[in-house]
């Protein structure tokens, strides 16, 4: 996967580039909006990571111009300001929005989520991992032929994990996508719900599907469970 980082702050750029390369991705860097725009139009990238505030041509204008030219490359905004309106506005043209400072694990998880997005255009009605099955139409969950009764929030949480099967999702991603919280709550709301979900989905059965990824988040996969 080829990623273009458009970021004027050298230190942030170093940090992100090192992380991207360590994750096994190819990454190029542009320090100005103009350069970024040129590189993004010339070479085909899979993902753009764009700083919102750039000298000269800013990130928002850059992306607007790209989109106007018919370029639909997935993009993630990086921004130092968590202004209330700018996030909403930014999400109208970008696929995700990350407020600085951020942990690299957060960015990595989001790149993963954005990268697999096009594949999801196929309307799935049944999500599966291991012997767990979620029927989105009937809104039912079964594991090893046993019906599991879930609360609406638990259902949404499991659905999000299943859609990102095999991928790390961070606490922030869960807050944003399951609860629609765009701030950091002081209570362990995510942990509590994950532990409840585990007690229903994992505990009564053989093999753990929901895994905690230390320092990053959670992941659902069948690595530790027998296939159905």
């Amino acid at each position: 996967m080829r990623i273009l980082l458009i970021e004027d702050d050298a230190e942030t750029a170093d940090y992100v580039l090192r992380g991207l390369k360590e994750s096994g991705w190819m990454a190029d860097h542009a320090a100005t909006g103009q350069d970024g725009l040129m590189m993004a139009t010339d070479a085909g990238y899979d993902i753009l990571i764009v700083d919102r505030m750039l000298p000269g041509l800013d990130g928002y204008k850059l992306l607007t111009m790209l989109r106007a030219g018919g370029d639909a490359t997935p993009a993630i905004f990086l921004t130092a300001v968590s202004s209330i309106e700018s996030r909403v506005e930014g999400l109208e043209i970008a696929d995700d929005y990350l407020v600085k400072p951020f942990a690299f694990s957060e960015l990595k998880a989001r790149i993963g989520a954005v990268a697999r997005r096009p594949a999801r255009e196929v309307q799935e009605t049944v999500l599966k991992v291991g012997d767990l099955e979620m029927d989105l139409l009937k809104r039912r969950v079964k594991r090893a032929a046993t019906e599991i009764n879930l609360q609406p929030t638990e259902f949404r949480l499991l659905e999000y994990l299943l859609r990102s099967k095999g991928q790390v999702v961070t606490r922030t991603m869960l807050l944003e996508n399951v609860w629609d919280f765009h701030f950091d709550p002081k209570t362990n709301i995510v942990e509590t719900h994950i532990s409840r979900l585990r007690s229903k989905v994992d505990k009564p059965f053989k093999g753990e599907l929901i895994q905690t990824i230390r320092g990053a988040g959670y992941m659902i996969s069948d690595a530790d469970a027998p296939a159905s």
């Binding site: 209330i84 609860w179 709301i189």
Partner: protein, 445 residues
């Protein structure tokens, strides 16, 4: 030449101006009065003289000049002084009786005299070159004029003098009040915001101004106090995690094994994250309160929003040994920013979970009341004493007991800022025991 400040005040000038105008108008009135009375007196005197003259002329025409002289003599001898004045002048220029120069012309004349009353004289030409003059001293007119002039000088002088004194007094009083005002402003200028403008003895004209200035000062003092308190609290609240961070990094610098170092690093990152959370809350409050952030005005289904939050927090409360219930009227909608409203109610619920203690009952409520949406969170925890309830809405205010627990102390002030931007009325009430945080959105669908 610079006039003394007292004489340059507007008050003084008005007083003197008014006095001069009054004096001028009084003078005109006085002049009318003076000449009217004087004319009347003169007419009366002339009438008298005319009667006397016609008596004498009657005798003269009947019996000649000798009888006229005889007549006059009789009158002069008979009437005591002051009497009328008579002159008979012969063609030789010899005058008898009162020796007054006669104008050689028929009719009235006036003989002016220094320091004595004028004489009003009626001259008649007789036959054979003789002249008769009958006159009288205009004594009463003279007295009147003198009296009037004295009165006028006294009155006008008095008026001008009095108004000057009054002007000075007013001016002095005004300057004294201005001086108090100025002294007061100077003290405020030096940074003493606790002084208040004296309202006693300010007079009804300046009192409203003094009241307004005092109210303004009070507001400024409260705001400054908030700012002071906030910056002290920021320093205080950030010092603790920064101190921990320093300790962690220090021990990391002398650290041994990789595994231990990793744990220390993670701890340091967690400390930093808590600092960053405080900063972003501060930024958000600042943004909301300065009005620089545009708040969306979407139709938000408050009932659904609260249902979802109640569901999200019920397990959290349960884990803390509490019971969370919801009493929510369905499909109540308000206008606002969904994300901000989520944060508002989530802060309220987190406060309840964190401060109400184990065994507490927490309730999320929403009901319609006369076109308004009344909603909020109640708990049966220790609550907040009435006296500090208002205080708790300010940044970094916390009950002393909760100083040690985690949290930025910004939760409720963020709630207040968001509520204010949605024109919602926020109040804290006693739940006996516990706390009710209530919000009233005045316009709900």
């Amino acid at each position: 030449m610079q006039m003394p400040r007292l004489l340059r005040t507007a008050q003084f000038r008005y007083a003197v101006g008014a006095a001069l105008l009054f004096a001028f108008l009084s003078s005109i009135m006085g002049a009318f009065l003076y000449y009217g009375v004087r004319d009347g007196m003169e007419r009366q005197l002339k009438e008298y003289i005319r009667t006397e003259t016609s008596h004498l002329m009657g005798d003269y025409q009947d019996q000649g000049i000798d009888e006229l002289v005889h007549d006059i003599r009789e009158r002069v001898e008979r009437t005591p002084s002051p009497r009328m004045l008579y002159v008979v002048e012969a063609p030789t220029g010899r005058r008898i009786f009162d020796r007054i120069d006669l104008p050689k012309q028929d009719g009235w004349s006036r003989i002016m005299r220094e320091d004595r009353p004028d004489i009003i004289l009626n001259t008649v030409q007789l036959e054979d070159g003789y002249w008769l003059g009958v006159g009288a001293e205009a004594r009463s007119q003279y007295e009147f004029s003198r009296a009037f002039r004295h009165f006028l000088i006294l009155a006008m002088g008095g008026i001008v003098l009095l108004s000057a004194v009054a002007g000075l007094l007013i001016s002095q009083r005004f300057l004294a009040r201005l001086k108090r005002f100025n002294n007061f402003a100077a003290r405020v200028g030096e940074g003493d915001l606790s002084v208040r403008m004296p309202t006693e003895g300010m007079g009804e004209d300046l009192r409203p101004l003094a009241d307004t200035v005092n109210r303004m000062l009070e507001q400024i003092e409260i705001l400054l106090d908030d700012v002071r308190h906030t910056s002290v609290s920021i320093a205080h609240d950030l010092r603790t995690p920064l101190g921990h961070l320093r300790q962690t990094l220090e021990s990391l610098a002398t650290q041994q094994s990789g595994a231990e170092a990793r744990i220390k690093c993670e701890k340091a990152i967690a400390e930093l994250d808590s600092i960053l959370v405080t900063f972003s809350a501060l930024l958000k409050i600042g943004e909301l309160e300065s009005g620089s952030a545009k708040v969306r005005a979407d139709q938000v289904n408050l009932s659904e929003l609260l249902e979802a939050l109640a569901e999200a927090y019920a397990p959290v409360a349960e884990e803390a040994g509490q019971v969370l219930s919801a009493h929510i009227t369905p499909s109540v909608k308000v206008s606002g920013d969904r994300n901000l409203l989520v944060q508002l109610f989530s802060n309220l619920l987190e406060n309840a979970v964190r401060h109400a203690g184990a065994g507490a009952e927490i309730e999320v409520f929403l009901r319609r009341e006369a076109g308004a949406a009344v909603c909020g969170v109640t708990d049966s925890g220790p609550g907040i004493p009435r006296a500090s309830q208002e205080d708790m809405l300010k940044p970094f205010r916390r009950m002393d007991a909760s100083r040690s627990t985690r949290g930025s102390g910004l939760g409720l002030s963020l709630v207040r800022s968001i509520a204010a931007r949605h024109q919602a009325k926020l109040s804290l009430k006693n739940n006996a025991p516990g706390l009710v945080v209530e919000l009233i959105f005045p316009k709900a669908d």
